[in-house]
Symmetry: C2
Subunit: 186 residues, 2 copies
């Protein structure tokens, strides 16, 4: 348990992040990042996706290792379920984004976290993707994120923590606001 003699440690290097913010204020072009995923179709709705390199701070960067993923449709869609569906990967990203934000904001506010759990749910009417009804959208019609947080803070402080994470979350923004997506054939 946290006492006044123990430093708050959620494993987030806030000093380095504040330093980065100062450095980027002097060189805003370095703040332009490009994230990438490379996808190979395997068979049916099964594909394999790699995440390895990205661009930022003015040059190409490599992740510490190459991360690969399988995606597929489930057996109830007459597929082989070799991996999560594409929309579940979006929920993975949303859960991870808000959770990382909770840890970073908690560190900045001097709140010791003990555990953070999040359940993310997205509702969808599959009449959309099946092309059955033009009034039904393809994507989620509603998304819910429920946090259970054990921390050295009041409920009000925990709620404020989550609200601030949401305010700065890239994936929350991507889902709640439209983004231009260009799709082309090489």
């Amino acid at each position: 348990m946290h006492t006044a003699t123990q430093p708050i440690d959620n494993g987030v290097n806030v000093t380095a992040l504040l330093g980065a913010r100062e450095a980027l204020a002097q060189a805003p072009a370095a703040a332009r990042f490009t994230w990438r995923a490379h996808c190979d179709w395997v068979r049916g709705t099964h594909s394999r996706i790699a995440v390895e390199d990205f661009y930022g701070l003015g040059e190409t960067q490599q992740h510490r290792s190459r991360f690969t993923f399988e995606a597929d449709h489930p057996e109830v869609f007459a597929a082989e379920d070799h991996g999560p569906t594409p929309v579940e990967y979006v929920l993975v990203g949303l859960a991870a984004c808000l959770t990382a934000g909770v840890a970073a904001v908690a560190q900045h506010r001097g709140i010791q976290l003990r555990s953070v759990k999040a359940t993310v749910e997205g509702d969808m009417d599959i009449q959309g993707i099946l092309g059955m009804d033009p009034d039904v959208r393809n994507g989620f019609d509603d998304i819910r994120v429920t946090f259970a947080i054990d921390a050295d803070a009041s409920r009000a402080d925990i709620e404020a923590l989550v609200a601030q994470s949401q305010k700065r979350s890239a994936v929350y923004d991507l889902l709640t606001n439209p983004t231009h997506v260009k799709v082309e054939v090489k």
Copy 2:
């Protein structure tokens, strides 16, 4: 190479999908799906996310196995890079969704695919997530998907295939149109 005597086989069971569409037309409530991800914070910006169960066809469904993922921030963000960033998971989902769609539409149109590769890139100015400039959004300001497809079809047919996949894609819809996201603390 495809000849008139070989059946088109991209590994997509179009007959079953058309059957599902007919069945759901009679019982539209069964088309309500809920997809889920469960996230546990590990330390810093590192979290572990599981995808296992979902709801659809009127009952809880289980994936063939439990899929788990690590997400983190990279070392240039003063983190430990235990996995892709949350926004890269969104790109994984987009790549997989459009690629699965290409395979399904190709099967339906009698086009034999030989290979499908997609590169997905998302541009972001990290001044947004760092809270440096309120006019810079947190998410991507632009996303590009580039397909390289080797198939038994003309370039025009391949472009039409990709356009149809885009039209029915759940993740493309999620990114290009806003979705309501509710975040709460239990």
